[in-house]
């Protein structure tokens, strides 16, 4: 964990709901991997927002020490603005070595924590399907690489060819609306449990995005009780193997 600063090079509007910040940062971009997040704070003496919001990089360019992050348009950012960053938070996603098809699920939330894994997977010739529902549909999926199959799900988490997409996937990464995050994750777990005879280990990962105060494991606000023991989401997360949750 380290504290650093980034400068906003450019702000581009993706649609009426989302904007993309292009930032330059020294010696950090090369370390960012899918699953990592950063705790961001504007260079201000104000205390609103108080806790640092979590930023999920959507692309990185180590050669130019730059990365980009997609954010809601509810907050306005300026070119040249300095952003204080604490990071990296969490562990990279644990992708299997032999992957052919990865299913990404954004349930009633934009797929922000999953975005960085898309270029990584595609560059390794792995097929990517993104299923998206609810408020996640505000995200401009048209801007994703054309190789990504984007499927819209309904509020009950049904989508066309669901059995096939679930069956084809070697790994699944799910993110849900952080309000009542665990309840929603359990619903996803039940859907997969019904669709597959068995949900194997390291197959279905919940990517948790609840707010975290410290990001270093000190405050213990993000401790999650697993079947066996506890996990600190800001250290060992954000991805949790849902077979460890003891949901039956």
């Amino acid at each position: 964990m380290r504290e650093t600063q980034a400068i906003i090079d450019r702000v581009s509007l993706l649609n009426e709901h989302f904007q993309r910040l292009h930032l330059s940062v020294e010696n950090l971009a090369g370390e960012i991997k899918p699953g990592h997040s950063l705790l961001a704070r504007r260079d201000t003496r104000e205390w609103e927002p108080y806790l640092r919001p979590r930023w999920w990089p959507s692309s990185i360019n180590p050669a130019t020490n730059s990365f980009s992050v997609d954010l809601p348009t509810s907050t306005t950012y300026q070119q040249g603005e300095i952003i204080g960053l604490l990071g990296l938070v969490g562990e990279p996603f644990r992708h299997r070595r032999t992957l052919r098809h990865v299913l990404l699920l954004a349930v009633d939330t934009p797929p922000l924590p999953l975005l960085l894994s898309i270029p990584f997977l595609l560059s390794n010739s792995i097929n990517v399907t993104l299923v998206i529902s609810g408020s996640g549909l505000d995200y401009p999926t048209k801007l994703l690489p054309p190789e990504v199959e984007v499927i819209q799900a309904d509020d009950q988490l049904n989508w066309s060819n669901q059995v096939m997409t679930v069956g084809l996937a070697d790994q699944v990464f799910v993110t849900v609306n952080p309000d009542r995050e665990l309840e929603r994750m359990e619903t996803v777990w039940k859907v997969f449990h019904e669709r597959r005879a068995e949900v194997p280990k390291l197959y279905l990962f919940g990517v948790m995005q609840s707010p975290i105060p410290c990001g270093v494991g000190a405050c213990q606000a993000c401790l999650l009780a697993l079947k066996e023991g506890l996990t600190t989401l800001c250290i060992e997360g954000p991805a949790v193997d849902l077979t460890m949750m003891g949901w039956g």
Partner: protein, 318 residues
């Protein structure tokens, strides 16, 4: 400069710098080692420890509120025995006194925790934390039992409710000093969603401790009252977010300060306050770049902003 944080006794808690992080902020170990120089702090206060293991709270635990946050962790910890086994070695090597924070769940458990801590050379002092609903008469009873079971200096972090009576009770029962005070508790109704007509749909209420700069003026008043009426050392804790906040508490008569949630938001502020109150504020060496000295004191950001504005202005003109 040596500061005595507990009243004269066989063992007295002394610090060189009157600044430390509050319990629950830095964790049990050196999680913040990359961000904070522990040598610049007066003491290390651990997260809350109980005699028996405690699980984390269920449901939503962090809820942002205007200029602050509400947090309910449930004080998870594996119990004092496992904590000691895991962190004893680290605490022994820390370059500052270690204060074990014991969350009082019952008189018997508090007493057992104190006896356990008494045998540990890695622990320099004990801080007792009480539930907000605990009557001050029980505080007196618990403190007396703990003091009987240890020769280590005992601090009492008084609850936000009725801190003066709790502080009096702690002093009467033999506490070495008091920490004024624990963060207040509150309840928030988080908005779950806004329906198409614009009506907010609320989630289940969440209760927890409130952190943020808003608590400082209230705690400052408590500190003034306790300092005037209780004749044992007072450590102030609540809402400190900058050097001047900490100075205000010392001016009100506190011997030292505990800094809380600002450490999560801006970790370097803890060290800045410690440098300031520890007399370590030095003049920046001539010719040093701002960021070579310290980001917080530098002007690099401001210069970068002005430069960027100038460039934009020039671009717009052309």
């Amino acid at each position: 400069m040596t500061i005595e944080l507990t009243r004269p006794a066989k063992q007295v808690l002394t610090v060189d710098i009157p600044v430390m992080a509050a319990s629950g902020i830095l964790g049990f170990g050196d999680h913040y080692r990359d961000l904070i120089d522990f040598k610049k702090l007066g003491a290390f206060v651990t997260n809350a420890v109980t005699y028996e293991p405690r699980r984390p709270a269920n449901g939503r635990r962090v809820q942002p509120i205007p200029t602050g946050t509400l947090i309910h962790t449930g004080l998870p910890n594996p119990g004092i025995s496992k904590i000691m086994a895991k962190y004893r070695q680290l605490w022994e090597t820390l370059p500052l006194p270690v204060i074990l924070h014991i969350a009082v769940t019952s008189l018997e458990h508090a007493r057992k925790c104190a006896s356990r801590a008494e045998a540990e050379s890695a622990i320099d002092a004990i801080e007792l934390g009480f539930d907000d609903e605990q009557p001050w008469q029980e505080t007196e009873e618990v403190v007396a039992a703990v003091v009987k079971n240890t020769e280590k200096p005992v601090l009492v972090r008084v609850p936000f409710i009725d801190p003066l009576n709790h502080a009096r009770a702690a002093a009467d029962a033999g506490a070495g000093g008091v920490v004024v005070c624990a963060p207040p508790r509150g309840t928030v109704m988080p908005i779950l969603e806004v329906d198409p007509t614009g009506m907010s749909i609320y989630d289940r209420p969440i209760s927890g401790r409130i952190y943020g700069p808003l608590t400082k003026p209230i705690v400052l008043r408590f500190v003034e009252q306790v300092v005037q009426q209780v004749k044992i050392p007072v450590i102030a804790c609540g809402g400190i977010h900058r050097e001047q906040d900490a100075r205000d508490f010392l001016q009100a008569g506190a011997r030292a300060v505990q800094v809380d949630s600002v450490v999560w938001v801006k970790p370097t502020v803890l060290e800045l306050i410690a440098r300031d109150l520890g007399g370590l504020v030095l003049t920046r060496p001539m010719g040093a770049l701002a960021d070579e000295w310290h980001r917080g004191y530098g002007q690099t950001e401001q210069i970068a902003r002005e430069e960027s504005q100038r460039r934009r202005h020039a671009q717009n003109k052309s």
